[in-house]
Amino acid sequence: MIVTWQIGLRLTAIVLVAVLVQISFLSYISILGATPDLLPVVIAVLGLLGGAVTGAVAGFATGLLVDSLLLQTLGVSSLVLLSVGYLAGRYREQFEIESLLAPALLAGALTMLATAGFVGLQLMLGVDATVSLLIVREIVVKGLLGFLMAFPLYPLLRLALRPALVLEEPPTRRRIFRNRRPARRRRVRRASAQGGVA
């Protein structure tokens, strides 16, 4: 991903909107006993589109923003989300993404990982909670919801960041023409060398 200042602004807007939607809307909803978690999904998609560095930096910044707004211990969400962004980015650098299923599966798995990581960090920081199957169930449901949310989010964010994606730069007429000309010249040269007509 080529991160110009315009793309930086778009990334900032995406992160800000995602954080506000999460803490002002999605955190109020309960589906199958779990709250949908948009942030790991967005960070995973940003990592998939922009690579490991973009994913990690976006995850770190998002975590810092969430912890500040919720007045939580700073650094907890950053650590979890930067891991999500980095892992998603590494996946993108290693494998070709050919269908929408791969990002969705990865987003679901990384949401589960992020939730488990957050729980682990909270327990390490002294939150005295009985770890029961209810937590495991909630982690799994959050992963499932993340998987479902990735289906609309991946194409949407790809569209929003399209100008920055090197591989998906739309071909222009001029570039097509420029690419064709040498080939035509070669054909003409080859034909005239053989004494025929191109």
Partner: protein, 293 residues
């Protein structure tokens, strides 16, 4: 070139991890008045208008989701409600006088005044606040409200809704506060079963926002299903509960005898933590030793 990219990527990752860990340990170990807390409160204060706007803008969407949720729930509860209604009608006939008096008293008294009637001087001053954010965490349960130190809110102030106890204030900025709900595992409330039941500690069950557990009730002690729990509001002179006596917490829904001399008592909180829109923060009130610095 490729190696250079790998080195750059790794160094950024390591730098971010180190930054996170430094922030985490510094923020966790420093006092409330420390610089990181101050910066955090500053960021939260600056962004709180944005949060309020987002919260208001997304309210119709939340209401829509609630409506769908309630419609499904209502279908399941319909039969149960029919039975309850028949019983309530019988009870209504017997208790019309009492209900009439109760309604008059309710109309006259706010919750803050009720607490004052329980014998606290000076009286608590309730500050009504709107919920502007909510934590998505699996374990912890916190909400942000749009009232802060500018409204007289202090850390450890009790927070209630029209139904009962909600939690207590854990962080305060000039214009917003963080409230730790009673369903957060870091919260424990000393409670008494009414009218003359035993006293125990109400603690949450991690991952289950709908139920609480009343601990330290021995198998010999009498606690029945349907019994109401209120805050015990204890004080021994040096230490005291953050909550005043008499705030309704919830009702006992299940009791089972335990193997180690203690009962397993499940409590359903009166306040529905997911449906909260507004809360009251009980500011001021009497000095509580060991609660405020």
């Amino acid at each position: 070139m490729y190696r250079k990219q790998i080195r750059r990527r790794r160094s950024i990752l390591v730098a971010l991890i180190i930054a996170s860990l430094v922030l985490l340990s510094a923020h966790f170990s420093e006092a409330e008045s420390g610089p990181l807390h101050a910066i955090q409160r500053g960021v939260a204060t600056v962004l709180s208008p944005l949060e309020s706007v987002a919260s208001q803008a997304l309210k119709p969407a939340r209401d829509l989701v609630d409506w769908v949720d309630e419609t499904f729930e209502a279908r399941g509860e319909n039969d149960q409600l029919r039975d309850d209604l028949a019983e309530a009608r019988r009870e209504l006939a017997q208790a019309q006088d009492a209900v009439g008096q109760n309604e008059q008293l309710r109309a006259m008294l706010s919750i803050g005044e009720k607490i004052d009637l329980a014998g606290f001087t000076p009286a608590y001053k309730p500050v009504t606040a709107r919920i502007i954010n909510r934590s998505p965490s699996v374990i912890t349960a916190t909400i942000g409200v749009n009232a802060g130190s500018g409204d007289g809110v202090e850390v450890d102030d009790p927070v209630i809704s029209g139904d009962g106890l909600v939690g207590r204030v854990t962080e305060v900025t000039q214009s917003i506060s963080q409230v730790q709900l009673i369903t957060d595992p870091r919260n424990a409330v000393s409670a008494r079963a009414m009218p003359e039941g035993p006293q125990g500690i109400v603690e949450p069950v991690a991952g289950d926002p709908d139920d609480l557990r009343l601990d330290f009730i021995t198998n010999e002690q009498q606690v029945e299903e349907g019994q109401m729990l209120v805050t015990a509001g204890w004080s021994n002179g040096e230490l005291s509960s953050a909550y005043p006596y008499g705030i309704p917490i919830g009702e006992v829904t299940e009791t089972t005898l335990g193997e180690q001399d203690f009962q397993r008592v499940t409590v359903r909180p009166f306040a529905d933590m997911r449906e909260l829109q507004y809360v009251q923060l009980l500011t001021g009130g009497p000095e509580r030793p060991g609660v405020r610095g």
